[in-house]
């Protein structure tokens, strides 16, 4: 079983190893969040088990438009901070087209985090090939701390879901996941996502998920 650490647990006395989820005081490294302890040759990390999404540049996220303003859109990205999508960062924008004709309040979008200033004002962009407005499919919300498990090592988990179920899937780093495809298969995919969220801290998850999908498919066909 992998080791779960709590904030304040002493992890090391070598400050050079301090990685994500840790802090250094004096020459000691302590955990600062609840998570799974992971040690590699040159770093100690704590992989979070709980917590909100904290935006970082380059993340793919799924957001919901909350406000249309004169020069862009304010977007809820399921984090303590609202993001701003400037008009110039939306390729659908054309002269003479009104902003609320492009994106209206309540519309969901796939976007990327472009920049974050020191006061945590987040700017996002849609100038990327994965980015688009979501007009169909299903959005599933999970705990953002579990997202890495849904993606899997080098995308292994996503690949599994895609090949087994033949659905489109885009995982936002902020815990929102977009699913599209055959309705029955999307329903299974949704269950799978919740299963991964529930058991994110356990080992051998990919195998169990594979088995789960096959079982569910048999139930529907047979």
């Amino acid at each position: 079983m992998r080791k779960i650490v709590l904030p304040g647990d002493l992890l090391s006395t070598n400050p050079k190893l301090a990685g994500y989820g840790t802090y250094v005081e004096g020459d000691k490294v302590f955990a600062r969040i609840i998570g799974i302890y992971e040690q590699t040759d040159n770093a100690i990390r704590v992989i979070p088990l709980k917590g909100k999404y904290n935006p970082s540049v380059g993340d793919t996220i799924i957001g919901i438009v909350r406000e249309v303003v004169s020069n862009g859109w304010n977007v809820d990205i399921n984090s303590p901070y609202q993001a701003f999508l400037p008009l110039s960062e939306n390729p659908e924008a054309k002269p003479g087209k009104k902003l609320n004709e492009i994106l209206e309040i309540g519309d969901a979008i796939i976007a990327k985090v472009m920049s974050i200033d020191p006061r945590m004002r987040v700017t996002i962009t849609m100038k990327d090939k994965v980015c688009r407005a979501i007009r169909f499919g299903r959005i599933v919300a999970i705990n953002p701390a579990r997202v890495p498990r849904v993606i899997g090592k080098k995308g292994s988990m996503i690949k599994l879901i895609k090949t087994e179920l033949d659905v489109q899937i885009v995982v936002g780093q902020n815990g929102l996941i977009w699913l599209n495809g055959d309705r029955k298969k999307v329903a299974i995919a949704e269950e799978v996502v919740y299963l991964i969220e529930e058991e994110a801290h356990t080992e051998g998850l990919t195998d169990r998920v594979g088995e789960f999908i096959r079982r569910r498919k048999n139930v529907q066909t047979g």
């Binding site: 709590l6 904030p7 304040g8 969040i33």
Partner: protein, 245 residues
């Protein structure tokens, strides 16, 4: 309730405890689904629930701090938590407890990580029986960890009282009401050791030596509570692990 003649008979207290013994403690984590982190604690007859929300966008805007997160702590007693109905709403006492507890938590939360946002900590006392602020701090500390908020360590709180000239750990109602002194502590526990004192209050009088002795007694009690807090948090993961096995 009237004043008992003697608080300690044959080395045992009114409820049969030894002077350095805690009341039975029960801690349950993640009891409220809507909250980001939550915890239910029973310390003797105290029953409290803590809920943590955040970090989330701070409203109204003027409370935002551009450099760090704002911490709000609300200690509240239910009208039915005491023998005589308590008028609902904040009063002098609960405002004070909220303030000192908030300051204890501000010292351990890594505030610079979430500028412009707010962390809300709510603790509700369902049943009070002396030392409810210590139970609340213990609950809030577990709820903070459960919410995944970065903190330096865990806060653990316990009180020491003086009755009949003897120091007793974790006083119950009679000892608190009719004792000579009462001293709640909260400690920051890090790396399995008591690192610093985050809260200290006193009611009544104690000598310098008694305070030193009280501190040692409280440290011992706090370590016991800390182990229970840890156990309660770990339990949720162990159970899931077993289900899958």
């Amino acid at each position: 309730m009237s004043r008992p003649d003697k608080f300690i008979v044959d080395g045992r207290r009114l409820d049969g405890r030894l002077p350095d013994q805690l009341r039975p403690i029960k801690i349950e984590v993640d009891v409220l689904k809507r909250a980001d982190g939550s915890c239910y604690v029973e310390m003797g007859k105290n029953k409290v629930v803590a809920a943590v929300y955040g970090p989330r966008e701070a409203f109204p805007r003027h409370i935002q701090d551009p450099s760090k997160v704002v911490v709000r702590y609300r200690y509240n007693m239910a009208p039915f938590s005491v023998e005589e109905r308590k008028r609902p709403g904040p009063d002098r006492r609960s405002v004070e407890i909220s303030k000192v507890s908030k300051e204890a938590f501000e010292a351990i939360i890594m505030k610079e990580l979430f500028p412009r946002s707010v962390i809300d900590i709510f603790v509700e006392v369902l049943q009070a029986d002396a030392g409810s602020r210590t139970a609340c701090i213990n609950a809030a500390s577990v709820a903070l960890v459960d919410a995944g908020i970065p903190v330096k360590g865990m806060l653990t709180s316990v009180a020491v009282a003086k009755v009949d000239g003897t120091l007793v750990l974790d006083p119950m109602k009679e000892e608190d009401n009719f004792g000579e002194a009462d001293m709640p502590f909260a400690f920051l526990i890090r790396g399995g050791k008591i690192e610093s004192i985050a809260l200290l209050q006193m009611d009544g009088r104690m000598t310098r030596e008694e305070i030193k002795e009280a501190l040692n007694l409280a440290k011992k009690g706090a370590m016991e509570i800390y182990n229970l807090q840890r156990e309660a948090i770990m339990k949720q993961f162990v159970e899931e692990e077993e289900e899958n096995a």
